[in-house]
């Protein structure tokens, strides 16, 4: 399956301009015969939204914007990042990613873990999502995580336990820390998790990070793809815009799971019972 990870720099707060960039990228993907196109976290809005959040929010069920994206993405699977204001929860804003397939919204993931420390203030503007659920994609079972979700390994576990074979992680991760390497120190952290999750979930891990800068924060890029053995298939440059093209051999999941039986031997019910005990015995 030919996959495009669009490592772009959205324009902060300018949904119209970003939509145009998406449509261009989708046209390019179609010409290149891509089947899956992934845009980063909040690709339609930019990241450092602060009080702009309510101005850029959309209800995807009624948004003409999503109609355009679905039309432009017909025949392909497309992941886009946006600010969601649901019909029945007006005034609450989610950091969401939509999975579009067969000209409709097949699934929406709402970011569960909202970083709020140091330079991050997501919980000041977003409501937290409550689910990490795999879903049926045209190419098999998939799951999505948004940026910080991926650094909490419980989120990956839920997708693994739920049977996902392709983990799609979208990100707006600023680079932090430099050493002697030609990249940010924090990029190592993402790669480390990518490799480990791919290997131990025997699943593909696609990580699409954004680039560009907002108010001094410099988004690191470095998007990557690991295969179900934890082998790096492709990696985009740090900091520069790029479309990372990668051909996924989806049959590899079956091959690897025959050899590495982590999925077969997993015992979610033991995890569940143990977690129930842990949560029940929380001390005040």
């Amino acid at each position: 399956m030919k996959t495009h990870l669009v490592q772009m720099a959205p324009r902060l707060g300018d949904v119209r301009a970003n939509l145009d960039r998406h449509l261009e990228a989708l046209e390019h993907a179609r010409e290149e015969k891509a089947e899956l196109v992934v845009f980063p976290e909040l690709s339609l809005t930019g990241y450092t939204l602060k009080d702009l959040v309510s101005d850029v929010a959309v209800n995807p069920a009624r948004s003409p914007l999503f109609k355009k994206l679905c039309d432009a993405g017909r025949g392909m699977s497309v992941v886009v990042g946006f600010v969601e204001e649901k019909e029945d929860e007006r005034g609450l804003f989610y950091n969401s990613s939509a999975f579009l397939a067969e000209s409709r919204i097949a699934h929406i993931h709402r970011k569960v873990y909202l970083p709020t420390f140091g330079m991050f203030e997501e919980a000041k503007i977003f409501a937290p999502g409550r689910n990490v659920l795999p879903f049926r994609a045209p190419f098999g079972k998939a799951g999505m995580m948004i940026c910080r979700d991926f650094l909490h390994y419980g989120a990956s576990y839920l997708l693994f336990a739920g049977g996902a074979e392709v983990f799609i992680v979208v990100s707006a991760a600023p680079g932090r820390g430099v050493s002697g390497d030609d990249g940010f120190e924090t990029s190592r952290m993402w790669g480390l998790m990518g490799e480990a999750v791919a290997h131990f979930s025997t699943a593909f891990v696609l990580y699409c990070n954004r680039v560009g800068s907002e108010d001094g924060a410099i988004f690191a890029g470095g998007s990557f793809v690991f295969d179900p053995e934890g082998t790096l298939l492709a990696r985009a440059p740090e900091v520069d815009e790029a479309v990372l093209v990668c051909d996924l051999d989806l049959g590899l999941v079956r091959d690897v799971r025959k050899r590495w039986t982590f999925k077969r031997d997993e015992r979610p019910e033991i995890v569940l019972h143990s977690l129930e005990r842990i949560v029940r015995d929380y001390e005040d």
Binding site: D51, S54, D55, F117, G118, M119, P174, G175, R176, G177, V178, E185, S213, D215, G216, A217, I218
Partner: protein, 270 residues
């Protein structure tokens, strides 16, 4: 938008006193133009710190606004605060004789920054902190000179709209000649804020209040009965002037960066 003069006076005089005291200062210095904002700030400062602890710098350019200078001088006498008149004419003229321009905004910005540099010099000489006099209207539409009249150590009036400053001034007993004066940045003869901004403060403040305080959208404000063109223009001014309300962005490279995640309170351990 109505304010209670007595309450706001109490809050702001306490703020001035406590904030200066925290940093070990008992004196304040401010630029006094003879206009409403600096006049109101001078009264607040005199009441907060005692008149002997307030130094007003009157910084005229040539004979540009004689009535304002007269109003400033009489307010100094009325309040019993200290004052110093520092002409900015020589340095401004010297500069523009070398780099001439007819652009009033360039000239006005230069004058505002000359006054700023004098204020900072006096603040160090006098061990006094600079009291800012920018109001909320100016801050929101960016009607001020960055690093000029917007520069200060603390700003007691930055959350009061111009019309609210006038209300407070009336409560404080600011003299009529100042209270009823047409607001002007004094950039050229006959200039008025309202003329330059193209909108009366009464309307501008209501639009800003709806926009900022009540978070109403542009279409919602137009629906209140304002012209679309006017609301759009105000929204543009607010949008375009964000840089004046922020410190410059620092390119984040390290794991801990000033302004990003090296974050301590202004009033740290004070």
């Amino acid at each position: 938008m109505k304010i209670n003069g007595a309450f706001v006076e109490k809050v702001l005089t306490r703020f001035i006193r406590e904030e200066l005291g925290r940093f070990g200062f008992s004196k304040g210095v401010l630029g006094l133009s003879g206009g409403l904002d600096s006049g109101t700030c001078a009264v607040l400062a005199a009441r907060a710190l005692g008149p002997e602890n307030v130094l007003a710098l009157i910084m005229p350019y040539g004979e540009a606004c004689p009535a304002d200078i007269e109003d400033a001088a009489s307010l100094v006498r009325l309040l019993g605060i200290r004052s110093e008149t520092v002409e900015i004419t020589p340095q401004v003229d010297t500069y523009f004789s070398r780099y001439p321009t007819d652009n009033c905004v360039l000239r006005g910005n230069k004058m505002a920054r000359e006054r700023m540099s004098i204020l900072y010099d006096f603040s160090a000489r006098e061990k006094a902190l600079i009291l800012g006099t920018s109001n909320k209207t100016e801050l929101l539409v960016g009607y001020g000179t960055i690093h000029g009249d917007m520069a200060c150590a603390i700003n007691p009036m930055g959350d009061l709209y111009k019309t609210q400053v006038r209300e407070l001034a009336a409560w404080l007993g600011v003299p009529k000649s100042i209270l009823e004066k047409q607001p002007t940045a004094g950039l050229w003869p006959g200039q008025t804020d309202e003329g330059e901004l193209g909108i009366a403060y009464a309307d501008l403040d209501v639009i800003l209040y709806e926009m900022a305080d009540r978070r109403r959208s542009v279409p919602e404000i137009i629906a209140l009965g304002f012209k679309a063109e006017v609301v759009g223009r105000v929204a543009d001014m607010v949008r375009r002037s964000e840089f004046k309300r922020k410190l410059p962005p620092i390119a984040k490279i390290s794991s801990r960066t000033v302004g990003h995640d090296f974050l301590y309170p202004f009033d740290r351990e004070k």
